[in-house]
């Protein structure tokens, strides 16, 4: 019964996540950027833009300039989350890729630092007056969600050990349409339900900052406005009517 429910939930959540996110990305792709607005000083070549973007994605360069606390906690959270996610690949691969096996121990500790990062960010949201002022209930709930996912995962890893073989069987079964039973465990139910919620709200929440960064004209445009004419479709249409005549 629970196995079927979770199987349906995960198919549905994955579908919402993939289709929803691709849909948002397709909107970003289709929407033109009519003017050159990189925040300068900006790279003048595409290669430079790629480097700038990598620094933003991996090092949070702008946030580093803004506030060391937010940067430290934010980076700790995101880097830990990335490791944790990669670690979880072992539930979806058979045999487990060597590098995934290699990062297992780091991934486990990353679970702890992820929770610490979330807790720190939440403390900041509660105790810093400015951040409290701009926070909506959903901002708090988002942190609660990550915290609950992290803690439920850690509990299964370090307190009440879950049946990892069974979970892996269930996940591989989902992937190959060869459904297997999900081990019955409250902790696991909680963990998986929350992850499904996270997947489903991704395309309709501020989690869109992840794809959004890559489409931010302030960061992804090369500063070459004088050398190459940049014109969007709708702006070009304004032109033939009054070619050369402003008066």
């Amino acid at each position: 019964m629970m196995s079927t429910l979770f199987a349906i939930l995960f198919y549905f959540a994955t579908l919402v996540f993939v289709v929803g996110t691709l849909y948002r990305i397709s909107i970003y792709t289709r929407t033109p950027a009519p003017l050159k607005i990189p925040t300068t000083p900006a790279p003048i070549t595409t290669g430079g833009v790629v480097l700038r973007m990598m620094r933003e994605v991996f090092l949070f360069e702008s946030l580093f300039k803004a506030n060391l606390w937010t940067w430290g906690l934010g980076w700790l959270f995101h880097a830990s989350l990335a490791l944790v996610l990669l670690r979880h690949l072992r539930y979806f691969t058979e045999p487990v890729w060597a590098w995934v096996a290699f990062i297992q121990p780091f991934g486990m500790y990353a679970g702890i630092t992820m929770v610490l990062g979330v807790a720190g960010l939440w403390a900041r949201r509660i105790f810093v007056e400015r951040i409290r002022y701009i926070s909506t209930p959903s901002d708090h709930l988002m942190l609660a969600l990550f915290l609950a996912i992290g803690v439920s995962g850690l509990v299964m890893r370090f307190v009440v050990h879950g049946d990892v073989i069974g979970v892996k069987g269930f996940m591989l079964g989902l992937m190959y349409f060869d459904w297997q039973a999900l081990p019955s465990s409250i902790g696991l139910y909680v963990h998986l339900s929350l992850v499904a919620v996270l997947l489903m709200i991704f395309p309709i929440s501020k989690l869109l900052h992840a794809p959004g960064l890559f489409f931010s004209p302030g960061r992804n445009q090369a500063d070459n406005s004088r050398d190459k004419r940049h014109i969007s479709g709708w702006a070009k249409q304004l032109e033939p009517k009054d070619m050369g005549n402003a008066k």
Binding site: T70, R130, D139
Partner: protein, 510 residues
Amino acid sequence: MSATITAPPYRVIPIIPVLKPGAMEGSGPYVASDKIQEALGFPGHLVDNWHDQAIAKMGELLGKYRSLKVYMDSCVHCGACSDKCHYFIGTQDPKNMPVARQDLMRSVYRRYFTLPGKIFPKLVGARDLTREVLDEWHNYFHQCSECRRCSVFCPYGIDTAEVTMAARDILDSVGYGQKYDIEIIGKVHKIGNNLGLPGPALIDTMEGLEEDVKEDTGIDVRFPIDVKGAEVLLITPSADFFAEPHIDSLIGYAKVFHATGTSWTLSSMSSEAANFGMFIGNYEQLRKVALRIRQAALDLGVKRIVVGECGHAWRVAYSFWNTLSGVGEGADPDDKFAQMLQKQLDHRYRQPTHICEFTWDMIERGALSFDKEANDKHIITFHDSCNVARGSSMGGYPGGQFDIPRNIIKSVANHFFEMDPSTTHEKTFCCGGGGGLLTDDLMELRVKGALPRMEVLKQVADEHGVNFLAVICAICKTQFSKIMPIYGFERKMVGGVHQLVSNAIRLGEK
């Protein structure tokens, strides 16, 4: 009015101020009159179905500007920007925090354009667009100078200026514009410059300037106007024609052209570098104002277009002219509109060229020489103007916009000191009067917004005896002249980089 406004006290340690909700609630600008709004094709006053029309306009802009769409979605309320705005620092009004300012619009975006906002508005901070919200927009989106300082620090590059521009565009579309900006754009269309200075008066002024410089130096420095076939068309903010200290920089440009033997001209039809179309976020207005310059360049047959000292004008020229009017290079071969002009321009030079690029280039070539001692009475610091610093560049490499004006100052003067590095280069603070806010009805805001700049100016004045604040922006010049006395500084302390050039340049040789 300004007599009653006093400067806020300097912070002993520049800590982040505590919030004072509502501090600037009723401090917005005058609403534009029927006549001036209609002159630009906007409704004369707030239309009856403003709600539906505003939401429709917002939808239109979300489809036309990727920036707006991505910025509405991407903010995570991390607070990186929250203490970066000079207006927030000066007023302590939480709605002047960049993220809170964006949220004035984002809350409406969520309500009408996102699923969670439609179903659970309270949860995600979504709001109906009520009359109160619209009033709030008019108030607080005219307390943003579109300086982009917040965008430097945002981990996603979210630029509040883009949001402010969209909000103003929406307000204009429902007949709720701002008097100062709308009025000025009307003057450009009608007369050719923001001041409404007609051609004959301009010619008169230039003749007067020739006499003044002759009297001063004994040399015939020309201020040509409407000269067909001149090499350079100078497009400069119209404040340069008459305002103090702006005019001293205009004299500086003329002397540089004279000393380098460059043939140049002004245009009476297109006598304005400023483009307030950017401030109101209206692409059509932005374009229409820019097209006057294209027209002047075509009519006069010039080979180069040089832009005078003006911050947002340089952003428009550098970043947008190629798009708007074809002033630049690299248009597609079948792009007839742009090719028509680009074929005429001399591409050995960057098009357009900033006057500082022009002067620095000449200095590097050894075409200019200076008596640096002429500036010895000035102990100088340089204020990076926001639009130059964060919306443009110079010299063809990132950061040239910081180096080139400083290089010029150091070439023409002996005493130069930097202000606190957390307030210069791309981290510079706005003067407090940019973005279409340089109007007396916003004087309280302008004074308070200047606080962070005045604090660090005070530091270098105390430590190094700095007595000259060099800038390359007409708005900065006007704003500082007006508010610096309120902070206890001499009003004459502010001046252009080319004013310093003018003081030191040798005209006899070369």
